[in-house]
């Protein structure tokens, strides 16, 4: 009888606390900073750093805080700036030439594997870990992961990285990436 009492009371206590947590989490639902999330969705997720920030999310945070103007993202192009301007209800600006020129078309890069000396320099600069390879072994680029940020081209000492037009799915992929990222973040929260 006593065991039964102990078991039920602990179960009830745990269930009660569980329900309390559910209620509080519904009541205080926070998406981090919703503005940052929305800006981040608009940014192209190339993680190229041309805006002067380490990646798209930090740039989104800076925009949300009002520390950065919206015209520093060359991969997003004028289209991206227009979207940001609509989202934030501010004036549309011309792309800042100091950050680079807008890309004509969607591109990714490819390694001319015959020329690769295996120095791993491109692996170190890749912001999305899209390059595989080891020291003194040939490297290659995972086309599905490459965002076309071109950071590896400058790092390559033998100029064996070339720009190629992105396969069509890349555009779809870029739009999906933030969602995937969000799913992972949400899953890891608990």
């Amino acid at each position: 009888m006593n065991y039964f009492l102990a078991l039920t009371s602990m179960l009830l206590l745990a269930t009660g606390f569980g329900l309390l947590i559910i209620w509080v989490s519904r009541k205080f639902k926070g998406e981090g900073n919703p503005v940052v999330e929305q800006i981040n969705q608009v940014l192209p997720q190339t993680q190229c750093g041309q805006c002067g920030y380490p990646g798209c999310k930090p740039y989104a945070e800076a925009i949300a805080k009002g520390e950065a103007p919206i015209n520093q993202c060359p991969p997003g192009g004028q289209d991206g700036i227009r979207k940001l301007a609509t989202l934030l209800d501010v004036e549309e600006l011309e792309l800042n030439p100091e950050n680079g020129e807008a890309e004509e078309q969607d591109t990714i890069v490819e390694i001319i594997e015959a020329d690769c000396i295996g120095c791993t320099k491109c692996i170190q600069v890749c912001p999305v870990d899209a390059i595989v390879g080891a020291a003194k072994h040939m490297h290659t680029i995972i086309g599905d992961e490459c965002t076309g940020c071109d950071l590896c081209i400058l790092a390559c000492p033998v100029d064996c990285i070339i720009v190629i037009p992105a396969p069509l799915p890349a555009q779809i992929r870029r739009q999906q990436k933030p969602d995937l990222l969000k799913t992972i973040q949400e899953a890891s929260q608990w």
Binding site: A6, A14, L20, I21, F28, K29, G30
Partner: protein, 193 residues
């Protein structure tokens, strides 16, 4: 009034949780690399400790004692602490993003801080009342925070000091902690508790 003051001083200095009772050593070593993070950890611990000692007192007094199942106090206190931390984190996240930025990182760490469970269990052992429990919890947190901040300041200085190679890092930190514990023994006998 004097009685609460004595409880506070006793928990903070005489029976300091880190250096006299040797509870909560994990964050004491882990988060004391930098003065700033030590300060954040201290604030977060103070908040959670005070709150959880109040809640666990209520659970003990109104659930465990009437049902005669005090032997389940460890289990239920762990539950109470985890829930308190989780709810605190959620409410902070929404209502005060600025404070969340300071404390947020440290809150989940506190769940596994044995000083928090220690305070809850000692409250029962010493048969403290509700207010006494709260003061005991806050005093313990104050002592923990004080020692943590002092220790981190010392460690920051030690980073710059010219220490023999074999003593660098954790060894000198452990020795420092030992000497601090010796110094805190000076408080012994100040209050009979």
């Amino acid at each position: 009034m004097t009685q609460w003051f004595i409880i506070f001083i006793s928990a903070a200095f005489v029976n300091n949780f880190v250096l006299v009772r040797f509870l909560g050593l994990c964050p004491f070593m882990g988060v004391s690399n930098q003065y700033k993070s030590a300060l954040g950890m201290s604030y977060a611990t103070a908040f959670v400790l005070t709150l959880s000692s109040i809640v666990s007192y209520l659970v003990n007094e109104y659930l465990l004692v009437p049902l005669g199942i005090e032997y389940l106090k460890t289990l239920s206190f762990i539950l109470v602490i985890a829930v308190t931390v989780q709810i605190t984190e959620m409410i902070l996240h929404k209502s005060s993003p600025l404070l969340y930025q300071v404390l947020g990182l440290f809150l989940p760490l506190i769940t596994t801080n044995c000083a928090v469970l220690g305070v809850a269990l000692l409250n029962v052992q010493q048969q403290n009342s509700l207010l006494e429990s709260a003061f005991f919890g806050f005093g313990a947190a104050f002592g923990f925070g004080l020692v943590l901040v002092l220790f981190s300041a010392i460690r920051e200085r030690l980073e710059m000091a010219n220490i023999p190679k074999s003593f660098r890092g954790i060894p000198i930190a452990l020795m420092t902690a030992g000497i601090m514990a010796l110094a805190f023994m000076g408080f012994g006998g100040m209050v009979n508790a």
